[in-house]
């Protein structure tokens, strides 16, 4: 008789809300200390260490859960629960010094045992961690004393501290792990309060936080997947901020309205026309080159993103200091594209598939690209897929000619060294480049290697490189301290306040 439970729960909730409302009216003279932040996707559950869903991190990262290290608003890696660390000469041993007096939200102390538990759990045989590769190099995790942990790696890894800052590497406690999916207990500046599935998640200020306390007392994350509803909710001021606003066409209206501020930040999302490099005729570099020249990036950015987005010519984030601008390599030139197709023996064009996942950059971008390809004789048949179908058909099954997707993981050019990756690019010299990069510590030499890597994939026309995805946030003009960019999936509200 679930219905009765539901009813009882509802009355109970009703009581809670009305007392809260009373308190709110009483304190009306004080500065506003609560915020409603909307985002498009709802987390499927609340365990960041066992799902790829970025939405989990968007709600919980840094707010509720913290790792040994943490990302700053600019993507830098800073101390988190570890106040410092020592790296051995050979680069294989990391000794982390943990902060003192850190407690989980259930009051228990966070110590070295919890760190060992978290890392061992993530790298275990039966682990459900979606980013298991982050932990692959770990050979052992030892508790030296309650506030010191020693992590030994199989080989030096220049990005280990970076890896530990990911949401998939946050520290959890063995006592509360069983219920983490519905009741997340972390160490962050906010505690989890309540989740109304399909609607919102409420957080509250953690009074016992070890660091700078949060400035807000209450936070609600509201989930509004529909772009129209998103527009309406912001316009009606039902929400105070919308992070990752889904409809770029509406941004000018918000910009023109003094009630709102619009922050357009950068992401790690390289949006590309992924090409099946093993499927004829895409196994012919001339055909891929023709493809690249047949595409008018600016038209895609204007038509699909209403002007928001930075053109890219390779698989690298333009805001990264090592980025090389190679867009000229694939300038829009339909005549040249036709000539290349004729050279490759496809003077009359050919037919292929264009499989599109749900986001509007893909659906709208796909319609534009199909029209541009049609102009040079390539008939790309569009099929719109849901994510589950896309993962099965395109990503795992490699049953596709073309697809559009934004690769949002930071610093992910290494995927081109994996011949079994879904675009099936198999170039031994590129693979060697990545091996060399892994062993190289000298920053100048690393830069040079990265430049060569970018040029290689651009020159091989592995994929069509379109644009770097923009990250628009629309907020009440009085809200301060929001992250502009999205160096990782996070909505860090620890420094947010009302003016």
């Amino acid at each position: 008789m679930t219905m009765d439970y539901q009813k009882a729960g509802r009355y109970f909730k009703l009581g809670l809300i009305s007392t809260a409302a009373l308190a709110a009216t009483a304190g009306i003279a004080l500065a506003k200390s609560d915020i409603v932040v909307a985002m498009q996707l709802e987390p499927p559950h609340l365990d960041p260490t066992s799902a790829a869903a970025g939405a989990i991190d968007s709600v919980l990262y840094s707010n509720v859960f913290e790792g040994l290290t943490r990302f700053g608003p600019d993507g830098s890696v800073n101390p988190g629960l570890a106040k410092g660390w020592e790296i051995s000469e050979d680069g294989k041993t990391y000794t982390f010094m943990l902060r003192e007096g850190v407690t989980f939200h259930d009051g228990s102390a966070m110590d070295a045992e919890d760190v060992k538990f978290s890392l061992d759990r993530a790298r275990a045989e039966d682990s459900a961690n979606a980013q298991k590769a982050l932990f692959e190099g770990i050979e052992s995790v030892e508790v030296v004393d309650p506030l010191t942990v020693k992590v030994t790696l199989a080989a030096p890894n220049g990005s280990f501290l970076f890896n530990m800052a990911w949401g998939d590497a946050v520290i959890v406690a063995p006592e509360t792990i069983a219920d983490i999916k519905t009741t997340p207990i972390g160490t962050g500046a906010f505690t989890f309060k309540n989740w109304v599935q399909g609607d919102k998640i409420d957080l509250e200020k953690n009074a016992a936080y070890w660091g700078t306390p949060a400035k807000l007392d209450k936070v609600s994350f509201k989930f509004i997947s529909d772009p129209t509803a998103a527009f309406a909710a912001v316009m009606a001021e039902d929400v105070d901020a919308f992070v990752g606003f889904p409809a770029p066409e509406n941004l000018p209206q918000f910009e023109a309205d003094p009630r709102f501020q619009v922050l357009v930040g950068s992401t790690e999302g390289e949006t590309i026309l992924s090409t099946n490099n093993k499927m004829p005729p895409f196994d012919n570099v001339k055909v891929r080159k023709a493809l690249a020249h047949a595409i008018d990036r600016q038209a895609i950015i204007d038509g699909a993103m209403f002007g928001y987005g930075t053109p890219i010519g390779t698989h690298f984030a333009p805001h990264n200091p090592d980025y090389v601008d190679l867009t000229a390599n694939s300038a829009y030139d339909p005549k040249m594209a036709k000539a290349l197709l004729a050279e490759a023996g496809y003077a009359d064009g050919f037919k292929t598939t264009l499989k599109l996942p749900p986001p509007s950059y893909a659906r709208r971008g796909g319609e534009i690209i199909a029209a541009q390809l049609r102009a040079v004789g390539i008939e790309a048949e569009i099929s719109n897929l849901e994510w589950a179908q896309w993962l099965e058909q395109v990503f795992r099954g490699k049953d596709y000619g073309l697809t559009i997707v934004s690769h949002t993981e930071p610093f992910d050019i290494g995927i081109y060294a994996r011949p079994d990756y879904y675009f099936q690019y198999d170039n031994p010299s590129f693979q060697q480049l990545m091996t060399d990069l892994g062993a190289e510590a000298d920053p100048a030499k690393r830069s040079a290697l990265l430049a060569t890597a970018q040029e290689t994939i651009s020159g091989d026309y592995v994929n069509g490189y379109l644009f770097q995805l923009a990250y628009p946030t629309v907020a009440n003009a009085k809200v301060q301290g929001l992250w502009k960019d999205a160096p990782t999936q996070a909505t860090d509200l620890t420094a947010v306040y009302w003016q």
Partner: protein, 270 residues
Amino acid sequence: MRNLWLGGLLTAVFAGMAVLSFLWTPYDPTVLDIANKIKAPTLAHPLGTDHFGRDILSMIMVGARTSIAVALVAVGIGMALGVPLGLMAAARKGSLWDEVIMRGNDLVFAFPSLLIAIMITAVFGASALNAIIAIGIFNIPVFARLTRSGALSLWSREYVMAARVAGKGAARISVEHILPNVANLLIVQGTIQFSLGILAEAGLSYVGLGAQPPTASWGRMLADSQTMISFAPHMALFPGLAILLTVLGLNLMGDGLRDLFDPKLRRARS
């Protein structure tokens, strides 16, 4: 009679647009012109342009083709399978066969049709063909039931009795004597199912499960326009009007036909 004329006229206009679109449209509705996107109606584009700079009038013309084709084939499926089932059930009234057909009908009726149509297209992929199948399935029991009830009343008529006495088999009687006499009923119902099919196709396309781009479809035009309705209402207005007027035309025509075929009803109604 007024209904029939008005309905026929509206239907003819949209059917004419659909036919004309095979030969001519003001612009190529598959060619994008991003520089001219979201333009309100002008002389050059009487109904304006959409978010890719396509001519909305041209898209509505091609969309008429999509809607009419999907709905027409769906009605065809419903008739092709439903009518024989209904005739068979009536010919063997009360038999196990009849019971199975009628229970099967009830079962299909019991399914929430839109939900199942969405399920079907989600399972087998979004396409015009799957939309046709999903809509067509729910047309089968409509025609089966109608045919059966129409046929049952005929089986007791004298001329059918006479044919039986003359030794004609049930199948032959059904085709020769029953079917021609339920044809009027079927035409009226067919018109109504046709209009419901257009609404269903629009709904499926609206949630992204109908015809895929670059094929223009009214429902998808509405879906595309939704986030832009606050600054470009023309993008939402015209495709919606096209659906409304087509369905209205078909309904009026259906009513008119019913009155025409059934003078007794006409007297009662008007």
